[in-house]
């Protein structure tokens, strides 16, 4: 028996430690500290490219950091341990407090202290001559009750008094706040598993069907069932951009991006829609966000015998604010060898004094596409997924640019040039061939990258957030206080009325409140005495439990 009791006692001791205020504080501060490293080191969740870069830049340090989950701080074992312990502590702390609060909500205010003079805001008034003590206290009771106080009458040592308490809402607010925190954690922790987030790049004119295979990348929650995807279609009709052209301090700064789309819910008519940076489109149980955009030059590769072996609009990833963009073309079949090309696209090409090209404006004023050609193994046959945005040149031979001595291929919209080694030709198609020769503003198609999300918990999170705020406001600003009014007959026959208060928690306005009660009470006393029966009636219902103050309007 003895050791078993020991274990229970030990557990109880641990539990008491865990749910103590000191531990809660410690864990809170620990949580703040533990959150810091995630802002110093790139995180896989928010900045996967940054993590790759970090590994490249710090090849020795990065694996060590990775071992301690420094790139996944917010899902790491140690970060989770801290907040889970904190929430266990929170629950262990709040449940007994809720119980106490329920009891307090039903209890009558405690007996009036013998000496009010030692309490906050103590003040005395002399009742109008002839006022009966019982009647005076009865009127104080009415006054306090109508101000939202819970009241009880006491008659001790020859002086009648009323004891009043209000502000139970303070503790209610505090408890609601803490429970809502738990609510958020639960909803985010479990509910998040029912959603998904996917990305898809669409070039102007392309259509996407909301099915699993159509996504470029797809991150389902743990409990997500892809049969619940609603297969609507989304077409990017056009992508409108507007750059600042007048303000000399901000030339070329983006002013507006608007994706004009058509959504066709299954079995329904197409509907036009719009996706903007701060204006997602909500359809088919998903929210569609505009995350990025850029150019997708249309490129055709033709073999020496004249057949097109590649023809597509290739999204190029923007590298700077003027949309110098980088892209890759892979031609696995149809030519003498596998061909890969790394291209730069400049919407408004200019030449630096060093001879290097750059883009001086993000819109299409003087577009140019440059391509470096590689031959060899594209690495597509191993079955390992490769990114469409990068070319592995380890097993390839460079044919143009760099140290090859062969000039890089440079193309304007509509131009065609020969590939080296008589491999064939490459064409940079003009998407708007009918425009005037000097108007290239529509010569290159644009792409938009969309994030498509489904998160069934958002409304819950928002509701708990509102509860948190409401709980905070009441928990911090509703004063919880006790007020006593005591009638003390004096030896000279007058009646002295004593008032005092006690704050339960922060209550800067307590003294003013007690003074206000005293003034209002005195004003309510008739200058001619009340008949005695009034006092007796008031005394009779004193034993009845009063209405809980929680439901009555607050007074400050």
């Amino acid at each position: 028996m003895q050791p078993k009791l020991g274990v229970v006692g030990w557990l109880r001791f641990l539990w008491r430690q865990l749910t103590s205020m000191r531990t809660a504080l410690f864990l809170l501060l620990l949580l703040a500290i533990a959150a810091v490293p995630g802002s110093l080191v790139p995180q896989r969740s928010s900045d996967p490219n940054g993590v790759t870069q970090y590994f490249a830049d710090n090849p020795d340090l990065a694996p060590v950091l990775d071992n301690i989950q420094a790139f996944d701080v917010y899902s790491s074992a140690w970060f989770s341990a801290i907040y889970l312990l904190l929430f266990v502590s929170l629950i262990g702390c709040v449940i007994p407090r809720t119980k106490h609060h329920f009891i307090a909500l039903r209890a009558t205010p405690p007996a009036t202290p013998a000496r009010l003079a030692r309490l906050a805001g103590f003040t005395t008034r002399t009742a109008p001559a002839g006022t009966d003590a019982g009647a005076a206290i009865a009127s104080a009771r009415t006054l306090l009750k109508s101000s939202g106080y819970r009241v009880a009458l006491y008659d001790k040592a020859g002086s009648v008094s009323v004891s009043a308490e209000r502000g139970y809402l303070r503790e209610t607010g505090n408890l609601v706040f803490h429970f809502a925190l738990v609510g958020i954690l639960v909803v985010v922790g479990f509910g998040g598993g029912y959603g998904f987030a996917g990305q898809r790049v669409l070039v102007e004119g392309q259509t996407f069907v909301n099915t699993l295979l159509a996504y470029d990348s797809f991150n389902p929650g743990r409990f997500f069932d892809d049969s619940t995807l609603d297969p609507y279609t989304l077409t990017l009709d056009d992508f409108a951009v507007q750059y600042e052209a007048e303000n000399l301090n901000a030339i070329g700064q983006p002013v507006d991006f608007t994706a004009g789309v058509t959504v066709t819910p299954r079995g329904e008519d197409p509907e036009p829609g719009e996706v903007k940076v701060n204006g997602p489109l909500r359809t088919g149980g998903t929210d569609i966000f505009l995350l990025g955009n850029g150019y997708a030059p249309s490129i055709t590769v033709t073999s020496p015998d004249g057949s097109d072996v590649f023809s597509d609009s290739v999204p190029f990833l923007p590298q700077d604010a003027n949309l110098t963009s980088l892209g890759v073309v892979k031609v696995p079949d149809g030519l003498a060898e596998q061909v890969g090309m790394i291209g730069f696209f400049y919407p408004t090409q200019e030449t630096a004094t060093s001879g290097a090209f750059f883009s001086s404006y993000p819109d299409l004023i003087y577009p140019m596409l440059t391509l470096n050609v590689y031959t060899g193994d594209l690495g597509l046959d191993e079955g390992v997924p490769t990114s469409v945005y990068s070319l592995n040149i380890d097993d390839m031979t460079q044919l143009t640019g760099g140290k090859t001595g062969v000039e890089t291929i440079e193309l304007r919209p509509g131009q065609t040039l020969d590939l080296p080694n008589d491999l064939g030709t490459v064409t940079f198609n003009n998407a708007d061939p009918t425009a005037a020769a000097d108007d290239l503003s529509n010569s290159v198609p644009r792409f938009a990258s969309f994030d498509i999300h489904h998160d069934p918990t958002q409304l819950w999170v928002l509701s708990f957030a509102v509860l948190i705020l409401a709980g905070l406001l009441t928990g911090l600003f509703v004063p919880r206080r006790r007020v006593w009014v005591k009638a003390v007959p004096q030896s000279d026959g007058t009646l002295s009325l004593e008032y005092a208060g006690l704050a339960r928690g922060e209550d800067p306005a307590l003294e003013a409140a007690v003074a206000a009660v005293a003034d209002r009470h005195l004003a309510s006393l008739p200058s001619t005495p009340l008949p005695k029966s009034g006092a007796a009636a008031a005394g009779a219902d004193a034993v009845k439990p009063a209405v809980p103050a929680v439901s009555t309007p607050e007074q400050t």
Binding site: M21, R22, A24, L25, L28, L29, A32, A35, V36, G38, S39, Q43, S45, S46, D47, G50, V73, Y74, R118, L119, A120, G121, V188, A197, E244, N247, N249, A250, Q253, P254, V255, D256, F257, V277, N278, G279, P280, D287, F289, L291, D451, H453, D455, Q458, V461, L462, A465, I468, L469, L472, L473, L476, L502, A503, G505, E506, D507, P508, L510, E511
Partner: protein
């Protein structure tokens, strides 16, 4: 001169007047020290034991800091008159206050004209955040002054604002530019404004906690009848009173910060498709929130009331400044709006 130049000029004028106000407040602090010396000499003359009597009265009020809620509340009610040495306000204090109000008016004009030139709210890049944020710090100070006499914080408030505005004008200045699409949202107006307002309260809380720590040290030294250096502290409220004031200011800041966090999440959902993604700026907003939650808890934890919780208030505001000055400029993240 166009409106933009006018905005810049009035900002520089505001800085000059803040500087003058700072000097006036500093003179007032010196006068307070002199007044304390004079009072000590007077007591010494009448009682022949000046130091001891000052020490006794100080320790009696210091005793309140650890005592029951009851004593706390009686102390908090006597907010303005529990200084150990009475001090009738000097002319330089009045001058300092008038200059602060004047500087604030110029500052307000500079900020509003910047908004007019830009044709939007004047808080969309670092320069503008700094301008509006400091405007709100002073505004919060002036509004709180109506209820509580915090004029002794004049040096702190004008000094802080001067430094921040100086950095903003020199390092953060950018010409007016149109709002990038990412910032074209009603949430820019709400979220950033409330964050700046919260910062105003946290700044004041920081100042009060700082003086509280000085005052606590003084009270402890006096209790041991050891000499005290910053004598002007005798004319300021007791450490316990300062603690209560700091708490009240900080919880208002905390509620505004809670709202900032939530409004930011709603905006993040609209702009990036997720309400929370542990972006660097989100991380720091969260860290600040947790520190102040810790501060509130510390005040209810035995052994943490008083100086220890005051340190949390200082750390909290340091994190706020870090979040604004360092995270915005040097950390990588989605919140790339410093305009630099």
């Amino acid at each position: 001169m166009n409106l933009n130049d006018l905005s810049i000029m009035s900002l520089y004028s505001a800085m000059a007047v803040y500087a003058l106000a700072f000097i006036a407040f500093a003179i007032d602090l010196a006068k307070r020290s002199a007044a304390v010396d004079a009072a000590a000499v007077q007591t010494a003359d009448t009682h022949g034991q000046g130091a001891a009597s000052v020490a006794a009265s100080a320790s009696s009020s210091a005793g309140g800091s650890g005592a029951s809620t009851l004593t706390m509340n009686r102390l908090s009610a006597r907010i303005n008159n529990d200084a150990t040495t009475p001090y009738s306000h000097s002319a330089s204090l009045r001058v300092g206050m008038s200059l602060t109000v004047l500087a604030w008016a110029l500052h307000l004009f500079a900020t509003v004209t910047r908004g007019i030139v830009a044709d939007r709210v004047p808080w969309a890049n670092m320069y503008e955040f700094a301008m509006t944020g400091t405007l709100l710090i002073v505004a919060v100070y002036l509004v709180v002054l109506i209820r509580v006499d915090l004029r002794f914080l004049g040096t702190f408030v004008t000094g802080l604002v001067l430094v921040l505005l100086g950095v903003a004008a020199v390092s953060f200045y950018v010409e007016v530019a149109p709002l990038p699409p990412a910032l074209q949202s009603a949430w820019l107006v709400i979220h950033v404004f409330v964050a700046s307002l919260g910062t105003g309260f946290f700044a004041l809380g920081f100042a009060l906690s700082f003086v509280q720590l000085l005052q606590f040290r003084r009270e402890s030294l006096l209790a041991d009848t050891r000499p005290v250096r910053l004598r002007f502290l005798a004319t300021l409220p007791s450490a316990a009173t300062l603690e209560n004031l700091a708490y009240r200011v900080n919880i208002i800041g905390f509620i505004l910060w809670t709202f900032t966090l939530m409004a930011g999440s709603v905006w993040a959902e609209q702009a990036w498709g997720r309400y929370w993604g542990w972006d660097t700026k989100e991380v720091w907003t969260f860290i600040i929130w947790v520190i102040y939650a810790g501060y509130i808890h510390a005040r209810a934890t035995r052994g943490w009331r008083g100086s220890r919780s005051a340190w949390l208030s200082l750390i909290g505001f340091a994190a706020v400044l870090f979040n604004f000055g360092i995270v915005n400029v040097f950390f990588k993240g989605l919140h790339a709006y410093s305009g630099l």
